[in-house]
Subunit: 708 residues, 2 copies
């Protein structure tokens, strides 16, 4: 957020928006290995535009000396006059003049850094990939009105000597908690799930070293089946330290060597994104505190160049996984650049040739991510820049509707929903239509923001039509639930949780329908259970949205507490309490296929922040917000929720609520058995034991009440 | 052509079709400098897909050992099973198996070279940029039917040690014809226009060397205004040879140095494409022979990585210029890879965001180039591969039509037509509609070839409608000509040559209309004259198509002979006989702005081959062809015309015609005052002094006749 606010005041490296993000996404997603084999994504990877024109018009009171830095070959124009050669310093004359820099780079993203006193590169510059500057036979240069200019992209590359192509995550040395030596082997335990570059100290001799990584001890020891490894031929008489080329996920490392190889010791360079925990949570239940801490660590490990799915594998950007990280991020780091970077890398470039990650639902989560991004941050500029790419993606979807306006999986479309046995993907699945409807609503919102009135009306109508069809096609009044799908124009009889739980927090149901869904689906054990933290996220959110914090707290303690009880130091891709022993490590037909550190495992961060501490925006960027604390059976809790304008802090016990906010206008809403008392402000009774208090920024509010 | 025929029999480097061509196009087009300043194109440059999947299914009688080479990180699968690590040699088992190689490369084009006994990489492999290989939670891999596979692209990279990214043109040393020494200077004359890397021999001392290039002596000597130069700081005690980093166009080089710098001598590395003159022409007029030779040399110099406009500048791929090179090429080198490479680089990738080179007419020349490519080569595979990109480009055009279905220049569209003073680009210019119509006809042809029946019908109807509108909107019966344009729905009264001359060789006119255009436009000096060889090409072609070879020969001798008389050693971008002295060197407001070696100056190659020797295909790939020699006043001529299946050789004097062909079924057509006699075959009288003789391949035909 700091970058968005202060981008105008200092020089920073700039590029075509989305291009650095796509380039970095290629780099990161093509670093995955399976054992020692390269394992890249199976969807299209785009690339940056190799030739870029940057410009800005300045109006200077006095001439100004300006230093230029570029990534790529370049030329410089003042107005339409080209300067000789490759100037590194230029003088911008007084008056109104346009400074243009054209840069070519095939390998890296064309970027510039301009450093004068007031003439600096920042996001106020314009960029285009085709400047259409024509020259006629007599030498006249004309710059064409048909050129499409965008605002420059930037991040935090504020040092001319550290250009975007040199970006690396931070590292710091870490030591193991235990090293066990064997014959020509070392078993190293770092005490908890971690990520980084293994370092072998004092390595010498002739032979080979193999490094077997394990998220579990079993995995590290199983040299034939562990998911990742490194092999190094060694031939060095003098001892020296060696660092592995690729960073990996592990808790345990099993090092085997032969010949006369010697290794003094092993450590690691922990590799991480320098995002900061702005959000916090503490409560009277130590198990819940531990769940929050491990969830925060899990999210931190998976918050890297982008929000990735898991650190062992896939180490890719999956839209459905990233969408949950976005939501958790708003309650932990509130790091907007990681959100927009992830959205840009996911979207890639036109033309759209398949769904995002090839998965239909994942296209829709991309739209939902934009909806939430605007709500939480209030940042319109991202939507303005990327509205055309939003349009081409929704057009791709609209063109694939069947005669009833529904989306069925076509050849090459993956209908994912969830990992669940026997889940049908046939026909028009109600869950996909629901997400499609929400995506159309997002498009209407964004069309409004960019003042594209015709499209706004179109998207609104499409969304309204689809929402009405959802009910006419899928709602079963007898079952009081949406059915799973419609095959050959007829609804199936199967009920699954997905559509039903989403429709609650999308607010698509009336109160009677909500209660019906709650009783007949959410709390009904005969409806197929969810076993991934991925869909547990939404199931528990739906229950929280209906005031079931007490029930959810118990579920959370059982489910995430269950992983902790099995020794988890980060949360997993999948957890099925019915499984035993090493079955917890297996997936995809491989004994250690399961990721033990998966972003979607961290959802308590979001649930505790949004539905217990209870803070959420009610207008974009927390201009207005709501704090509706719900103890759910806890004795007390306190937490901090980050926002663009500072933090919101809430303490709540069974007798007292304290709120303080740096930003916006808030409403504290709570229930009390007796008439509450406050030191500051005026409590308004809303009836039915509900009270509200308006919260102005900068003031401390304290309420005495008695919880129901 | 050899590559197309023999590609199946040997291993060659393969890639995604078009990607190497786009990558190489970026590299070449971003090598332009103006003096010592980088001067890149002003249109969008695309890039290769960075992640590529290659596969082919083999059916082997016995297992086979196969060597693998890639450009980029890679993995290998046999069927859907991934092999460990980065195997360099694999064993393909007996039976039917699929070999897949996935390659990632951000900087260069992902490419593979596979060398077994029968398992070899070639254009029969399939490639895709998104393999959509999904894995489910249980480990099942499924390859999706929605994947779009193309045939692999290839050229002539048949050596595993010389991958595509290392491609360079050939070089050979050449010496100057004269070196004149002055105080701290050398003026070097290479005797004729040439291209390459200047080499300074025995260079030593401390100081600076400047190299000023000139296509003329005046330009080389004018250090302040010459178009290209190099500057080198020198500090070396030991004499050594230095080669310039960039190849340049020049005849003269003016080398200036200071300090105690010493240079022993200067030579060059001539840089060239190893295309071979398969076509030839000789006749009784030595000036015409010299014109043909200089035209062939001009085309050779401009035939490089691609067909470029000019070797001094722009050194870019311009569609209108390239289109003429394609046609000349069919009568000189018949090098198909240079044609398709140029077409691919011009087209780039989707989405279409502007016309090719930003010029509306240049989009249409791209389609015309495809039409001719198919006619001359009969190569369907190129059309099959690139049909989707043809469709998206024509869609771009169709979406820009006005309410009358006409194309006017919109913001960002350059309507070029020709360099000509005062030429109006306003409204709907008839010339653009004419080219658009021909493009639609090309689309109908290609839709037929790929059996896209619905589109074929659509394009045919669109073309027919547009052709009829051309007459109703622009044909002026009084003027017996098409008028130039239509502004605000009303035809203008101005007549220009462009639409009128193209409509003749497009065969859009009936005989009466043709004669009208000939008299009232082509041979009418009051209609604005053409001063570029670019449009002279079409003007003279139109006259030839109407049997005016005598007139055209005189024009050719005047115009191209005029350049030779001024000392030209290659043909120019522009020639106006009315200009004097150094005015011939100037253009674009710069004293040496004019290119003295421009591809479009070489059109006599095409005119002499197609309309004097008179050989042209009448079915794709010369399956059938016509030889219709026309002396145009010459006493005798002989020439060779290359075709995909060998050469066609024609000798013609006023009394004798000899024809021999390696390919197809030909028709020799000629006029004779008296009844002709032949040694072989049967002459058929067609009336009106016209006779025809059928020519079978491999036989020598000789006709005695007496020319009219």
């Amino acid at each position: 957020m700091t970058d968005i606010v202060h981008a105008q005041s200092k020089a920073t490296w700039i590029w075509y928006p989305g291009d650095f993000e796509i380039w970095l996404g290629n780099k990161m997603q093509n670093r995955r290995t399976e054992r020692d084999t390269f394992l890249p994504p199976f969807w299209r990877m785009d690339s940056h535009y190799v030739l870029m024109d940057f410009h800005k018009v300045f109006n200077l009171a006095a001439p100004e000396e300006v230093r230029l830095y570029t990534e790529g070959d370049y030329n410089v124009k003042i107005d339409s006059k080209m300067l000789h050669g490759h100037p590194q310093t230029i003088t911008m004359p007084a008056g109104q003049h346009r400074l243009s820099i054209k840069v070519y780079n095939q390998d890296k993203v064309p970027a510039v850094f301009v450093q004068g006193k007031t003439v600096v590169s920042d996001s106020s510059w314009k960029v285009t990939y085709e400047d259409k500057e024509w020259i006629d036979a007599s030498g006249m240069v004309s710059s064409q009105s048909g050129t499409q200019w965008l605002q420059a992209g930037s991040w935090n590359f504020n040092d001319p000597a550290a250009p975007p192509s040199q970006f690396k995550l931070n590292v710091k040395p870490q030591s193991p908690v235990k090293t066990t030596s064997g014959p020509q082997s070392l078993l190293v335990d770092f005490g908890k799930e971690t990520f980084g570059f293994i370092q072998l100290h004092g390595l010498k001799g002739k032979g080979a070293v193999s490094v077997y990584y394990g998220e579990s001890k079993e995995e590290a020891l199983d040299t034939a089946a562990c998911e990742t490894l490194d092999r190094l031929p060694i031939e060095q008489a003098m001892a020296k330290d060696t660092t592995m080329a690729l960073s990996k996920a592990f808790r345990f490392v099993n090092i085997r060597y032969n010949g006369d190889v010697r290794i003094d010791s092993v450590s690691m360079l922990y590799e991480y994104s320098p995002v900061v925990n702005r959000g916090s949570f503490r409560c009277s239940d130590e198990q819940v505190n531990r769940i929050w801490d491990v969830a925060a660590y899990t999210l931190h490990l998976n918050t890297r160049e982008f929000f990735i799915d898991g650190i062992k594998r896939d180490r890719w950007i999956w839209s459905g996984d990233a969408y949950q990280s976005f939501l958790m991020n708003y309650y932990l780091f509130f790091d907007s650049p990681t959100v927009t970077r992830t959205l840009m890398a996911l979207r890639g470039k036109d033309p759209v040739s398949s769904h995002i990650n090839t998965i239909m639902d994942y296209t829709f989560y991309w739209f939902l991510g934009i909806y939430d991004y605007y709500l939480y941050t209030g940042d319109r500029s991202f939507i303005q820049q990327f509205y055309p790419r939003m349009q081409s993606l929704i057009d791709f979807c609209l063109q694939r509707r069947d005669k009833d306006g529904m989306l069925e999986g076509q050849a090459g479309d993956w209908v994912f929903i969830d990992w669940a046995d026997g889940l049908s993907k046939q026909g028009a699945v109600s869950f996909e239509q629901l997400l499609f409807c929400r995506s159309l609503e997002t498009m209407a919102l964004c069309a409004d923001l960019v003042k594209d009135r015709a499209s706004e009306a179109k998207y609104k109508q499409l969304a309204a039509d689809l929402r009405s069809k959802l009910f006419s096609y899928y709602w079963d009044a007898g079952k009081q639930a949406f059915v799973h799908s419609r095959v050959n124009g007829k609804p199936t009889s199967n009920v699954t949780r997905y559509t039903n739980m989403f429709s609650i927090f999308f607010n698509y149901l009336d109160d009677a329908q909500k209660q019906g869904v709650k009783q007949h689906v959410l709390l009904n054990d005969s409806v197929q259970q969810i076993t991934t933290p991925y869909m547990r996220f939404y199931e528990l959110e739906a229950l929280c949205a209906m005031g079931e914090q007490g029930y959810v707290l118990k579920e959370m303690k059982d489910y995430w507490g269950g992983m902790l009880a099995l020794g988890a130091t980060s949360f997993w891709e999948k957890y099925d309490p019915r499984e035993k022993g090493t079955a917890h490590l297996a997936m995809y037909g491989r004994p250690y296929g399961r990721s033990l550190c998966h972003a979607w495992g961290a959802s308590p961060i979001y649930l505790l922040g949004k539905y217990y501490i209870g803070v959420r925006p009610t207008a974009p960027g927390y201009k207005t917000w709501l704090a509706e604390p719900a103890l759910g059976g806890l004795q007390w809790m306190e937490g901090t929720v980050p926002t663009p304008g500072g933090n919101i802090t809430v303490y709540c016990s069974t007798r007292q609520i304290k709120v303080k906010a740096d930003t916006g206008t808030g409403t504290l809403r709570f229930k009390s058995k007796s008439k509450p008392v406050c030191m500051q402000g005026e409590i308004i009774a809303k009836g039915n034991n509900v009270y509200e208090l308006q919260v102005e920024k900068g003031k401390q509010y304290e309420v005495k009440y008695s919880s129901l």
